[in-house]
Amino acid sequence: MNKTDRAARGCDNARRFFLKGTAALGTLGALGALGSGPCGLLRPAQAAPLKGGGYAGGYAVHRQVCPRNCYDTCMMLSHVKDGRVEFVEGDPACTFTGGGLCVKGNAYVGSAYSPDRIKYPMEQQGRGTGKWKRLSWDEAIDKIARKIVECKQKDGSLLGVGLNRLSGHQGVTPNVADGMFASMGHITRLVGTPCWPAGIDAQSYDMGKMLADDPEEMPESRYVILWGGNPAYCSIHSMKYVYAARERGAKILCIDPVFTQTAAKADEYWQIRTGTDGALALGMCRHILDKGLADQRWLAANAHGYDEFVAYLRDSVTVEWASQETGIPADKIRAVAEEFATAKPATIWMGYGLQRHTNGGATIRNIDALCAMTGNIGVTGGGARYGSLLNYVFSGAHGAFQPPAGSVGVPVTAPDGSVKHGRRTLNINKMAEMLLTADNPPVRLLWVTGCNPVSQIFDHQKMLKALARMEMTVVVDLFFNQTVEQADIVLPVTTLFEEWNANAGYWHRWVGINEKSIEPLHEAKCQVDIAKLLTARLNQLSPGFSTFPADADPRALLMAECGQAMKDHFGIASMDDLLKSPAKARKPGPAWSDGKYLTPSGKYEFKSDICAKHGFNALPVYVPGRKPFGPLRVLTPHAKFGLHSQFINLDWMEDFNPEPLVYIHPETAAARSIRDGDMVEVKARTGATRLRARLTSNMPRDHILLYEAWFRNNAYNCQNLVDEESADMGAWKTGAPGVAIHDQFADVARI
């Protein structure tokens, strides 16, 4: 009998005993032994234990939506009995999720019930010391509220209060952190995102907005290029559409510097020289031009500035040049250009890694141009697929609060001479630099929620210095991490099972509601309740300090997110409809099928005046990448067993992914006397990190790869190797340029 059987048997026998014996035992509560007696904690039972609903097995089934920053934004079902989530599954009502979850989604029960969750408000006696004391919520909130009031007294504004919020907790409910601070006054907000901003701007220059085609229509494609992304890791639900396209005759080409899981599943793989993807796209464009394969009918109806683009191609681009830049043989470029141009419809999926470069936005424009000149935009099964803002039609109820009248912030003089005040914005991708240099006033109190900047934002050593400058750092999170390590106060927040939320896909076209299906474990609170507590204390200390509604109800706020735009977009009468089923956007067909581009010309803009006005080239010309400053390029992409720094800390994941590894080509390793399994140090200008080497010929010889991650029992931090260099584009739509995560260089040595 194994240990599990034994445990189960003992448990089962005794459970039967207790269930049978309930009536016979009577009640100790009747003994009057409570309170003053030995029974100091337990109380007379008030009600029968919670049971499930009317489903098979007695489960109550609740709708959930994964709140992680992921292409797949899975619609999920949780199965609850006795007030306890027993298991989750993909919601079969969402055809995209299709009833299946990834390894991370399946880990949610273990995550919510991990003994390592942050359970109580706690205060650290000296950052990084690990000396933590528990606080009651009232004590914690009081300390924070007093600090906020102090900031206002010192500075005459709330610009000394900084909010650092990112995509670690998605959906509409987490927006309440912004609403909570907006209710107090004009604060300092870290803005932008390290994720996709250069590409958003690029597609906005070309088409007016970032709108990807429905991935569920990908089976209509006759040719699929998976370029600079790894959906086999990062969007597993999309892979079934890639396979479906192939089954119907499409060719799948994967272009990536690394031979990824996705590359392994493609028909053809090109190992491109990193950061030269734009040259490859333009080389293909030139060949298509030379062969007369451009889609003249599409161009006549949809293109603006195509003639100028043609002139640029003729003047500056040859296939041989593209081959030299990219390392891809010219004959292959020619062959695939012809295949792509003639296999109508054909599509390109551009991964976010493509644009995490100093020339990232330019690259996306180069590839968009290839899709456009072959007439593959606005047609079913075509598409320059990157990401989609189509579904973001919530009303914004969680953030829509105004500061008290007369609040002082950053003054802006309007053309009519009137002065308005607003918040101060700092570039999140240079967070360390920004927090070090922000002044008048400095950021005194930093509130971190939905992110782990110490693991995820760049130049780790500088980040530690920047955080040391804070007078108070508050982190709201599920798990201890490297940011909590640098915090003064940590507040436990709810998991998806313990709160109301709604989330919509930025890749697929679905929206779903997330029900509160169990009570919060330990002393975790949802962010609406945290906002109410903080507001109440602030208004006690200083009446009128905040306008946040004292009676805000998490469910009511969620319902208010569904305005007319959302009702129309998804064809629902109210948010409540989503309790019956997740909904898909009603708009049929591919993006831009109506030919009405949101650009100034109303056309697809090969030539964008806005782009030129923003300091870039009007045409999608090739921009060379960042000059190497070390022998090996460092890639730090997404891992399979985590999403950014989340999930990796769960012991369930540790069974498969117990420690960080640096992947090195065997020849590169041999030149440094590194064997598989050796401990090595990777050293860059910004810092160093130590980990174990894994040799693989999947890597280019002049690259190393370390997945971004946070391990609970390991000091590994890949941001030691990544500096704060910006990507070219991104400031237009997200407030700050992207970041050149993949333009980093280092060397590696055995230790």
Binding site: K3, T4, R6, A7, R9, G10, C11, N13, A14, R15, F18, G21, T22, A24, L25, G26, T27, L28, G29, A30, A33, G37, P38, C39, G40, L41, L42, P44, A45, P49, D82, G83, R84, V85, G110, Y113, S114, P115, D116, R117, I118, K119, Y120, M122, Q125, G130, K131, W132, K133, R134, F480, V490, I518, E519, L521, E523, N649, W652, R712, N713
Partner: protein, 237 residues
């Protein structure tokens, strides 16, 4: 029956050969209950002051003197590192972590504890938030039953509410304390010993919990079928 409600001395028929100073000596039931109460409050402590109070209550006549404590703040930090958080905890004080295949809370053991309390007409006021199989809650239930047996208050109440029969309480003890707690608490204590960073305070709390369990296990009716060895995720202890 171990706990004769009125006529026989408490714990009269604990097996011969039980260790000296355990609950079968005349003064022992009070010490056993006080030790249990102190341990319950120790593992349930929410701050340094309550931790200290609970620890000092372990100073009992039948026990060695308590070790001197240099700095209670340091003990509080250590207590949180071991049992509470916010970081990964080496010694989670919940049964399901040790009894089930996955290292997680709110497992079958949690429902088991909940049902054991319900059988007594009791419930945790934190049901759904504090897992019912927290060591503090389990000790609390055990102490309530021990007290009821020792006081002999097992007749019918004036209001007519049936009170538990001594025989049933003894059977409960067998199932819950000798069966369930004895199956996981040794693993919990083992994790505490292996946690590395520990102190005289944590060591003493662990030793006293081991002693409490050793005293408690033989006190029931001896009628319930139990696993041969305590079983844990980490292996038999």
């Amino acid at each position: 029956m171990s706990f004769a409600p009125s006529s026989a001395p408490p714990c009269a028929n604990v097996p011969a050969g039980a260790a000296p100073g355990t609950a079968n000596s005349p003064a022992a039931p009070a010490a056993f209950a006080r030790r249990g109460t102190a341990l319950r409050d120790f593992f349930f402590a929410a701050n340094g002051a309550s931790l200290r109070r609970a620890f000092e209550a372990l100073a009992l006549p039948d026990a060695p003197p308590l070790p001197p404590v240099a700095a209670w703040d340091e003990e509080e930090y250590l207590f949180n590192r071991l049992f509470v958080g916010p970081g990964p905890v080496a010694v989670p004080p919940y049964a399901s972590v040790y009894l089930e295949p996955e290292r997680r809370l709110m497992g079958e053991a949690t429902l088991f504890a909940r049902e054991a309390y319900a059988a007594l007409g009791l419930a945790s006021p934190w049901q759904g938030s504090v897992p019912d199989d927290h060591i503090g809650l389990e000790l609390d239930a055990a102490l309530a039953v021990f007290d009821a047996l020792r006081q002999g208050r097992t007749d019918v109440s004036p209001t007519g509410t049936p009170r538990p029969a001594a025989e049933d309480l003894a059977a409960w003890w067998d199932a819950f304390v000798a069966g369930h707690m004895a199956a996981w608490v040794p693993s919990f204590l083992d994790a505490l010993r292996r946690a590395g960073a520990t102190s005289a305070v944590m060591g003493r709390a662990g030793d006293d919990l081991a002693r409490w369990l050793a005293d408690a296990a033989p006190l029931g009716r001896g009628a319930f079928s139990l696993p041969a060895q305590p079983a844990t995720k980490r292996g038999a202890v």
